[in-house]
Amino acid sequence: MKVTYFPGCTLKNKARDLDEYARKSAEALGITLEEPETWQCCGGVFTTANDEVATKLSSVRLLKAAAEAGQSLVTVCSACHNVVKQTNYAMANDSAFADRVNRYMAEDAPYTGETKVYHYLELLRDVVGFENLAKAVKKPLTGKKIGAYYGCLLLRPGKVMGMDDAENPRIIEDLIRALGGEVVIYARRNECCGGYVSAESPALAKKNSNLIAENAASAGAELLVTACPLCKYNLEKNGSSVPVVYFTELLAEALGLKEDAND
């Protein structure tokens, strides 16, 4: 299966592991990730303001490129995923907004939300299948107590993201099980780390990150997995006692791809 793959800005620098392991694992699972020749940063956050068009255009162009390639669009970073899916939802469901965007872009064919967008986790669940993934595991994560850290952008708003039950998710836990690890459930797994507020109020980000890390540690987690570079940064910067890794790294490790991933 060939899909259009959008790494996003941060996966090209500080979150290279998230990208490299995603590519290696997809190849091993028989999925070809095709990165568009040109793309722009998604902007990191989706504005819910009705009257903003310009800040959403990079996502629309990306969605349109995937539609023109006749492919689904796959994202890995939680923030890219949130921005691209929210933009796609607006293009499909808000005809006045879609009309303004299409007039602004002034291209021959209008775009109205046709592209199917998958987060990489959804690709594993819905296309590969966790049962098949489990069969492909070469080095199961046996005995590792792992907590899923969803944060906010991966799941919410639930009706737009349509990924999982936003209040009681299980997709990352199911991945951990498929990879042979032991799941640790803790209360704050879908609470916000503070996100971009660490630029404005580091103390607020520190407080939120510490609450999450302490909650995971007290529940017995020895490792946290995330899809978001900013979650990882905030948790680590604020001294999480539990190490934080990207889910793609865990995936590559279980598939036996980790040693040669950075060759």
Binding site: T10, G44, T47, P157, E167, S198, S201, Y233
Partner: protein, 128 residues
């Protein structure tokens, strides 16, 4: 602008129906920035409804919202308070010279691991 004009502008940007609120307070109870906010999510809803926008525009509360959408997800009436906070914040930073974050602020917030995602997100939220 009059209070009514400010209210209509916020409603236009956010497309939120504030009259659906039943004042249960679940948005505020869910808010991870609660302690840092002068006005809390449920107050944004009632103050917008009352046309009491100026105090919100002048409050740092609009820069404390994390856009985590917890209040939207958990509202039993689908009121979507985060969209109101976003609209008020935009009304504030869209004014000329009102950027909350400036390019020259960036170097001192960088460390070796700062992800690009943090900077682009913060600029989108705090500047125009």
């Amino acid at each position: 602008m009059t209070n009514e004009q400010l209210k209509q502008e916020i409603l236009r940007i956010s497309n939120v129906n504030v009259t659906k609120c039943m004042k249960c307070g679940k948005c505020t109870a869910s808010c991870p920035a609660y302690d840092e906010m002068e006005y809390h999510p449920h107050q944004f809803v009632s103050m917008v409804n009352n046309g009491d926008i100026q105090p919100l525009l002048n409050s740092d509360s609009i820069y404390r919202c994390l856009s985590c959408f917890a209040c939207m997800e958990r509202c039993p009436r689908g009121v979507e308070p985060a969209k109101l906070v976003e609209a008020v914040r935009l009304m504030a930073v869209r004014k000329q010279g009102a950027n909350r974050m400036k390019a020259e602020d960036v170097p001192c917030m960088l460390d070796e691991n700062t992800p690009g995602q943090l900077l682009v997100s913060a600029f989108r939220k705090y500047s125009k």
